[in-house]
Subunit: 361 residues, 4 copies
């Protein structure tokens, strides 16, 4: 059940780094949503390797094929299968890893769990798994925007190592984010972040950071009380992204700094619309969207693959040394941005469809 | 679907603050687990109101009744229904709230979502809903410890407003935590936290903080790749607790401070056992437990109910003033500790049962 | 997971024959559906023991209590918990059955599956489990009729042993069915069926039969292609009723008697409405309702509890003799009628809610 | 959610008759099960068109490709994606059907449900959808037989129109069934059935019948009480097969002919094993397997596509005439046999894995 997500808009991803390919089946997409391979490809292009000098040079065009569920540019309501064939996989670069566990990677845990693993390139634990998410996210976006054309999901790199982008969430522009290779919210910070990433790579080291994500023009009423609160399903979605170590919404981990008087968001009327003067709630109250911007932040650890020698053990439980080979991202954040957006779209699509079953009217 | 959680060990909670009662049905508990009302009651007693002078004085004994699924002190494998009747509910204290939304509460969002709400005492959004979680958590604990007697889940209040408990996770003792009314990890910090909570209450204000939780002696191999990673399901569980604004595991939001060389956890052998020298991974790699302590932290906002006048709006969309009445916790953290532990037990029970379906052997 | 059913309108039943009680939690009922204990009680009264001389004399009033999810006579959208306390259980009548398996009952299989069972009165395998279904069915009916007031579900006893009720499905009247103790579709057949049941009881024997069920004025478009076809989910629901051995829809097991030319249902226009001239499809084509009556039939075996001595074995695997004690139905069909209707309402409510997520419009 | 089935061994099928292809993703297959494309292909070959003169001559080799989840001939525990490309699709044969509904097909209902359909060749409602089932069934069989090597699932054509195969279920041999093109249980009956099918085809007509299926050497204890009874999940699985109109287990629709004394299956000891002297229960009691053969029967209607002119309506709601074109099976039963077996394997694999979570021991 590990690779299925969602309750109505349900996705099942499949595929390994060095296998035939990767893909996703979407079961529960409503009928007559406009969809094209171009829309999906555009998102995959934002995630693909080799797009700049600060990401992995693995050369994959990641060309998506729609296998089912779409006719004449519209969804049919039946499952949408999407696949991407792997091209540039060089398993030989991984030979050593067949028996020697990479520190802070999934190798040891997969072996312990399953007694077997597709070891080449990380197999199922490879970041290539996120291709299915991004492809499904493009479909989810089409569903959401068919119903709420104004709804916008926007993620950006807010921090790389110690470098913080100072732009406030409400001022971040999509065009700016896509206009720099780091996908941060202003060009000057992007330069400094890119330099830091290049410097880390030179040392064989890697960097982590923070991705922020905001949802604008979200309708009121999304999210279910108790276990499927909007923030809980978003946390589930985001914490399932490889390398993500933390999730917060609204005031998040700074909430304790406030007292209740400082933290509560007073309501007021803006014309016919109920608004809050502050947004420490992050757009969600009682697990349900209140119409304000949904502001989230995700912490990513530095890439575990390093071009330096590290202490580790083998699958025969002998201590050993291992030095990373192959082609890797010295910092995953620029390519994580479309993955974070995809997961947000998927969660929103699911809640929007569920909301249609909530009232008799 | 909002009130059901889990894939094999599945719980469905029900009930409102001022209705007949609250409870839970557990479907998927294995047979022949030793269970008694006393074990469940012991956990509910840790959560119940009125247990000290820093929590709400609402007088509820929260007496649990096992309605089904247990004979002769053992589970039968069929659904376990647990219920607690409400006793001391004074709806009159809430009359004003029938039409006036409490800031940073769920009132407005429930109305927007459903067009109706059980307004008295917060209805379904009341913290009384967590009774079902704690009761189910006691059953989950029995399941887990029947299989892994050494496995321990321990939560404690690590921070209240600006006061931080300095004890390291691996040194926290359950007896110390239960030995003070704040449920923090040392007695001296407890005094200062309690004083701060009393001071806030005097002003009609409230405080938030951090609850930490550690899982010790967890078997290797729990958690599913991709969407049901152990940290993702834990995040889902924890972020569904009322007032929780953030979740992190291992290095969490401090991960960006490290470079990859600093962050990776080198493997070594400790006798027959694979260990890591550091634990920035927080006991989880690739979404799967590696046998090290699972360290989590949850941020809680200050209680939204305040005994001061606040700006708000009514359900007729008129601006209004509202001052909290009724009996409330000036700080939810001491009573959140057993809820956090319960959610961890529930997630672990589910993953432990799932793990039994993972290999043919 | 055994006791949970449905994907959006989701029910979880609990309880044993001789335990505290039985009940159900409904998660996913839309908000603002009119509901009262009286509506639910009316259905339970049709199912309760002691209602005539041809059913078990166990004296249970089966009084339902709404524990949550309803305020001011309307659903709130949050879980609806319903419970019925057991009253007249005489476990002593079952002492012998603690160790001796009743033939064609669940005793042996429960022991083999779980290693334990609530043996008194059949425990979870007792027909009292169907109380939760009937209560949930009453709620499902309210949901369906809030949206489709003309939609009608009508079940009746079409056959008892060799006695067949000749009334065609389209001519069956609810008032006639409720007007006789057998719940068959005409009064004269009812007399003969009742006499046969009394005669079987006198001999300590029991009878089976056929329950037919028709759904009138069903909207077009319910049911999902592939696995959740309307007939597949109905079959799942109906075959889960104790003692049900077969399910058919439309032409059913007589389909092979037709050739394709005879079996196909030609379309024609009746005003604006697409109709079929015959209804061998039973109102479902490609798994989806076509607006014609949905006609189903269910085969029920004769009650397994007999007042004669039978060969069996003990839980120590010794051969033994057993003679039924306690109070039992010599024919379950009259009381199965409301259970069949309940399961149909539950399936329809679920599909109707799902259908709201199927199109963007 | 329509195309996903199973709770632990979960399959999602996708694909349309005249699209790129069809396939399935299996999520929840345990690790280290021996699997090869050959094993899967062998089952697909039993289902493929063109295998004899009594089935459709559409020329599809239905070559399966394993896209993920298998390394070195073993499952890895991660999703197994299987796909088959469509080859010989001639959409032109279906031009007329774009706007004219085929009687007793899914065309009208799909349009009513979704407002759109992949009309060519029946799209998602085509029998080609069952390729995903058969492929997944081959994987399920490998899972089941890895744990229970003696467990056997065997289906055969028991009846075509009025011709009944007289061989008793316990005497049916797999080799005999595979040894004739009808897949019935003796050669002489096969001749007569084949002749009847050819005769019907000559007239442009079609025939239905009965497929029987038996499960031998099933372990005791499979199936869950209440809603997921073994017979209920089997009914769900089987009634989801296109053209299936009825399902029965054990005595089935002949149960009413018996009295309780005649129908009950007395227990006795056969060495250490609990057996029943008769098997009217069909190997299932209380929803749980008792170790006796599980005997099922499925009714199939005659193929809806006829080579004669029929009355129908268009999607503009005009009355019209339509005559079948394209290549079709005059009787689906020979090719339904591997589909029925596949669904049985899938249900059994799911219950066998679930059973591992049922007891603590």
């Amino acid at each position: 059940m590990s690779s299925t997500f969602g309750s109505i808009f349900k996705i099942s991803t499949w595929g390994e780094s060095h296998g035939v390919g990767v893909g996703v089946v979407i079961d529960g997409c409503p009928a007559r949503v406009r969809l094209s391979e171009e829309d999906i490809q555009a998102q995959l292009n934002r995630r693909r390797p080799g797009q700049s000098d600060i990401v992995t040079p693995r050369n994959e065009e990641d060309r998506v094929e729609i296998l089912s569920g779409v006719v004449d540019g519209q969804s049919t309501g039946t499952p949408i299968a999407l696949s991407v064939r792997n091209k540039d996989h060089r398993s030989s670069a991984y030979d050593e890893m067949q028996h020697t566990y990479r520190p802070s990677h999934a190798d040891y845990c997969y072996d312990a769990k399953y007694g077997i693993r597709a070891w080449a390139g990380g197999g199922r634990a490879s970041a290539r798994e996120t291709i299915g998410r991004v492809a499904a996210g493009a479909v989810a976006k089409a569903v959401v925007q068919a119903l709420y054309p104004e709804l916008e999901v926007l993620a950006w790199v807010q921090q790389v190592h110690g470098i913080v982008c100072p732009v406030e969430p409400q001022n971040v522009q999509a065009a700016t984010v896509e206009g720099n290779i780091v996908r941060t919210a202003d060009a000057e910070t992007a330069e400094r972040m890119a330099a830091a990433i290049r410097e880390a790579r030179t040392r064989g080291d890697s960097l982590g950071g923070i991705v922020a994500c905001t949802v604008r023009n979200c309708p009121v009423g999304l999210g279910d009380p108790v276990f499927d609160k909007l923030e809980a399903t978003l946390a589930h979605a985001m914490m399932s992204i490889p390398a993500c170590k933390g999730f917060e919404v609204g005031s998040g981990f700074s909430a304790p700094e406030y007292t209740g008087m400082q933290h509560n968001d007073p309501y007021y009327m803006e014309g016919e619309r109920v608004r809050t003067r502050t947004n420490n709630s992050g757009g969600i109250q009682g697990g349900i969207s209140n119409g304000e911007d949904i502001n989230m932040r995700l912490a990513f650890k530095p890439t575990a693959t390093l071009m330096v020698e590290q202490d580790t053990v083998t699958d025969a439980h002998q201590e050993a040394k291992l030095k990373g080979k192959g082609r890797h991202d010295p910092c995953v954040l620029p390519r994580a941005v479309p993955v974070v957006e995809a997961m947000a779209w998927i969660v929103l699509a699911d809640h929007i469809l569920k909301q249609r079953t909530t009232q008799i009217d």
